[in-house]
């Protein structure tokens, strides 16, 4: 079962869903619209190796926007801090974003229950696109779980901005 927009508002008011800052205007029929934060990450490693910590640079998206070229891949983030200990969030592009050939995630849409933080967007442009800080870029829906809940305690908990992959931690265990 997926929550309706009205139910999302109620659950935010009951503190069962965290969205901060929360703006009722961003509620849609079945989701909440997310804005693009102003920081992005671009990898610098020539070859990414999941066993090693990747090299990357961080950039601020200027007010006048940042152009992604066709084929570009960068990590961005939601300006909202979000999560839920009661529902499973799923991230989607806005259809307006997708119509510009822009991916907001790369097959990883499912968020763990109990994960709280700013969402890292996996931004992939298929045609040139200009990104503005604060633009509505994605949406999050909330789904009802079945079964006993164990909350997320993973390596990306409490992300404040875009987080590069930390797979090297899995191999060093």
């Amino acid at each position: 079962m997926i929550l309706t927009g009205k139910k999302i508002i109620q659950e935010v008011q009951k503190n069962r869903i965290e969205i901060s800052p929360f703006n009722k205007k961003m509620i849609t029929t079945n989701s909440y619209d997310l804005l693009l934060g102003n920081t992005i990450i671009r990898y610098k490693s020539k070859i990414l190796d999941p066993k090693r910590r990747p090299l990357f640079e961080e950039m601020t998206i200027p007010k006048k926007g940042l152009i992604l070229k066709a084929g570009d891949f960068v990590l961005g983030h939601s300006s909202e801090y979000l999560g839920s200990d009661f529902y499973v969030p799923i991230i989607h592009g806005k259809s307006g974003t997708a119509r510009m050939g822009l991916f907001v995630h790369v097959t990883a849409d499912l968020i763990d229950i109990g994960s709280h933080g700013r969402i890292t967007f996996q931004l992939h442009a298929t045609i040139p696109v200009r990104l503005y800080p604060g633009m509505p870029i994605a949406q999050v829906s909330f789904w009802v779980p079945k079964g006993d809940i164990v909350l997320y305690k993973g390596k990306y908990q409490h992300s404040k901005g875009p987080m590069s992959s930390m797979t090297y931690k899995d191999f060093n265990k």
């Binding site: 990414l48 097959t107 992939h124 164990v150 899995d170």
Partner: protein
């Protein structure tokens, strides 16, 4: 409704979910982490009708994927369920590297049970290791009567390229 990690463990023990091999440490709050198998198939030509793939065994020190190529692979585990529908995706740690694990076909039919074919596209050059944790599968409660899956892919245990357009011709 999506199953929590605890519910996945319970249903696996009851036989309503198959994950083989199964390891409790690969359970997430609402999904299971699956591993990459040891074989890739890389696209090398299109004859105007059909795409051809070459088989590659992933060496011990890994295999570097080139951007803008399509690779097929399979999950190390046999994954399926007689009771739940499934969604198989990449894990966020791989999405953060720009690695697609499937090309928009994430839905797994109830009653299918096999090593899933992964459709892998790398946006940046990346080294993949055989057996590494690469994606996750979630299980969803059905609403309505379940009819057994009779598709052609649901019992295959190796990376299988598309049967299209041969399939399409047969239907005309």
């Amino acid at each position: 409704m999506i199953l929590t990690g605890n519910e996945i463990i319970k249903e696996q023990r009851k036989g309503n979910i198959t994950i083989n091999p199964f390891c409790v440490s690969q359970i997430n709050p609402n999904s299971y982490n699956y591993r990459l198998g040891n074989t890739l198939k890389v696209f090398y030509k299109f004859d105007g009708n059909k795409a051809f793939f070459r088989k590659i065994k992933i060496p011990k020190n890994g295999y570097i994927l080139k951007p803008k190529k399509v690779y097929l692979a399979n999950t190390k585990e046999v994954i399926g369920s007689s009771k739940y529908a499934m969604s198989l995706i990449g894990r966020s740690s791989m999405g953060r590297y720009g690695l697609f694990l499937q090309a928009s076909a994430n839905l797994g039919h109830t009653t299918s049970k096999h090593k899933w074919t992964l459709e892998i596209v790398a946006l940046l050059p990346i080294r993949l290791y055989s057996g590494m944790i690469i994606g996750q599968v979630s299980f969803w409660k059905n609403f309505g009567v379940v009819k057994k899956y009779h598709g052609r892919y649901g019992s295959l245990n190796y990376p299988q390229e598309s049967f299209l357009p041969v399939e399409k011709k047969q239907n005309i």
